[in-house]
């Protein structure tokens, strides 16, 4: 077939198409609903939530996880465009780890050294490690679907960031259930749980985000 003929065929299919913003907005809403809904049904919000909200540590968990969710969603949206290089999107992702690191330093300063280990291990480590990936499953499917609508030059990296965004949404929902609020706990278990989702995203992106 001649290239001019192909152009005629493509022009015949020139109907307007939904944009990328819509795809990722839908994925974000669907993912957030799935993560929060899953948490409410399977785990429930912690019973002392009213008192917890008046502390510093409990609300801070949401600052960290929401910062990660927001930056990862922005990054994966950028990566879904073919001309985006990883270095145009990935530096954003340093924000949440930086916030978490700051709070770890603060915690180490205000809490005596003999309780550091107890605070870090907490009571819910294994729950965190299983609940976050489980809550992230549907958000990851939604994010990968949006990514597939796009055209990422780097499917594996883009899939990993989709996983990071989904893991962050799930962690945000999970944080409302978990009674371990110390930044030491958050810094130990949350990254491990989110890393599982990120790895799943990378593997899935490699296969499903190709075009």
């Amino acid at each position: 077939m001649r290239t001019d003929d192909l152009v005629s065929v493509l022009a015949a299919d020139a109907t307007p198409r939904p944009g990328m913003e819509r795809a990722f907005a839908l994925a974000l809403v669907a993912g957030a609903v799935a993560a929060v809904g899953g948490m409410l049904v399977a785990l429930g919000v912690r019973t002392d939530v009213g008192a917890a909200l008046e502390t510093v540590r409990f609300p801070w968990k949401f600052v960290v996880t929401l910062a990660l969710a927001a930056t990862a969603v922005v990054a994966v949206r950028r990566l879904a465009r073919p001309e985006t290089r990883p270095r145009d999107a990935l530096p954003l992702l340093a924000l949440s780890p930086a916030l978490l690191a700051l709070s770890v330093v603060a915690e180490l300063a205000v809490v005596s050294a003999d309780v550091w280990a107890m605070r870090a291990l907490g009571k819910n480590g294994l729950v965190c490690l299983t609940a976050v990936p489980a809550l992230a499953a549907l958000p990851l499917v939604a994010m990968l679907a949006a990514l597939r609508h796009g055209a990422p030059s780097r499917p594996t990296i883009s899939g990993a960031v989709a996983g990071l965004a989904s893991g962050a949404l799930a962690a945000t929902a999970y944080a409302a259930h978990c009674t371990d609020d110390s930044p030491l706990f958050v810094a130990l278990w949350y990254p491990a749980a989110i890393a599982i989702v990120t790895t799943a995203g990378a593997l899935a992106g490699r296969v499903f985000a190709r075009w």
Binding site: D4, L6, L10, A14, P16, M20, A151, W211
Partner: protein, 180 residues
């Protein structure tokens, strides 16, 4: 392809008109993109056993199916070249060449080959793998220059159904490119 359209701003204007439903502007934009991408691909294909026109067509198909990933306020060509680069890397991988994707620097020093006559074969091969009906739709438009409405009349089908079938056929063609 005697079109002299090639200015970045002009291509962006055409693409915006295309997004608003102007099929003629879209055809001109696609031809202009082909004209810009062809020498770019030719430099990078030299001596690698990849047919340039096949890649131009594969790139156009991807540009079409992924056109919503272009931002209307951004220049078109960096986006189109990124798609071409992706398709080139894909083609080299398919042919078993373990060549890194980032070949820009070295490619600038390679000579541009003489212009290739449009002897693309991959698309024709992929077209042959389509079912009878979608193939007749694509060929009716491509080879005979019919409109969607004329194809619909000939097949005794609803125009919308033909549009849907055409879009599906293009997705299938893109997926089967160079893989049969």
């Amino acid at each position: 392809m005697g079109s002299t359209v090639g200015d970045d701003a002009e291509i962006a204007d055409l693409m915006r008109a295309a997004n608003a439903g102007d099929a003629r502007a879209y055809a001109t934009a696609l031809s202009a993109i082909a004209g810009r991408v062809r020498p770019w691909l030719a430099r990078r294909c030299a001596g690698r056993g990849v047919d340039v026109e096949d890649l131009v067509q594969e790139t156009l198909l991807a540009v079409h199916l992924k056109r919503h990933t272009w931002q209307p306020d951004a220049p078109v060509m960096p986006w189109a070249h990124a798609i071409a680069r992706h398709k080139l890397a894909d083609a080299l991988r398919r042919r078993g060449a373990s060549v890194p994707v980032d070949i820009d620097d070295l490619a600038e020093t390679l000579p541009a080959p003489t212009t290739d006559p449009c002897r693309a074969v991959d698309l024709a091969r992929a077209l042959g793998t389509l079912a009878d009906r979608p193939r007749r739709i694509v060929e009716g438009i491509a080879v005979e220059g019919l409109s969607v409405r004329e194809v619909a009349q000939r097949l005794g089908a609803n125009e919308t159904a033909v549009r849907v079938a055409l879009h599906r056929a293009l997705k299938t063609l893109s997926a089967r490119f160079g893989r049969s």
